[in-house]
Symmetry: C2
Subunit: 131 residues, 2 copies
DNA sequence: TTTATATTTAACTGGATGGTTAATTAACCA
DNA sequence: TGGTTAATTAACCATCCAGTTAAATATAAA
């Protein structure tokens, strides 16, 4: 996996972890509080592991207060992922002022200009570089 | 993994797959064209597999034209994931009119009111239901 | 000093992922 | 018919992932 963006998306690719983030968006909470809603489905160490994944991805950070480990959301870390998605908004959003439609058209134009993937015999064939 | 949202995020958690989506946002392309930029790093079947992941997640769909399989982006499928992220925008965005700051404050207030994770002795202890 | 609470670590397991090479399928072309 | 191109499937492998139970660590409280 390796890169940051992949790590972020991977961290979000689990319902338990997303639920934890939702919970943390309402304020910090220590591990057992966070775990409580899941303890009928999984063990506490399982939750600890999820928290570790979120922590490694930079999405949360853990404090230290006596034997408790208050966790808090680090929303900042979601930004690159959100920004990445943002570039696709145009593909689904029909905005009120038709900006979406307009941009789609622009893209379609571009597409037509560079062509190369549309009709029989026009598929661009590239020999692999022999290096 | 199972649920749709997880599937979407998981599909995005790989740089090759994200690059494929970027490429497709500029227009449809068949498999070998999509694979070309990666063939020095991985084999064609590897790319086929990535495409399958994207397809299962509903992010792309494949057509059929002679021996070619023109792939196209299905941006629509990204919407739920983008929407999910959107709820966190407030945590990083300092909007021009300070709406972000304002909402952060609201959350901080709420946090203070419900407390329960802050001071010694106040940690909510719930016995696990014996069922 | 013992006990209780909060959390983590260790060791293990089954199943998913991401890659490989070799073989197969499918359509076109000469 | 036979060859070429495009893409997939099969079989395999190493690693990661999400969970488990049991043991360890750390702080507080009696």
């Amino acid at each position: 996996m390796s890169d940051r963006l992949s790590q972020t998306f991977a961290a979000l690719a689990d319902p338990t972890r997303r639920a934890i983030l939702v919970r943390l968006s309402q304020g910090e909470a220590n591990v057992s509080v966070l775990a409580e809603p899941f303890l009928e489905e999984m063990s506490l160490p399982a939750v600890t592991k999820h928290l570790k994944v979120l922590e490694k991805a930079g999405l949360i950070s853990k404090g230290k207060e006596a034997q408790w480990r208050p966790c808090r959301l680090n929303g900042e870390a979601l930004r690159p992922a959100a920004d990445w998605m943002e570039q696709y908004r145009v593909f689904w959003e029909e905005s009120l002022d038709r900006l979406g439609e307009y941009l789609k058209t622009v893209v379609a134009e571009e597409q037509k200009n560079q062509e190369g993937t549309k009709k029989k015999g026009k598929y661009r064939e590239r020999k692999k570089k022999s290096e």
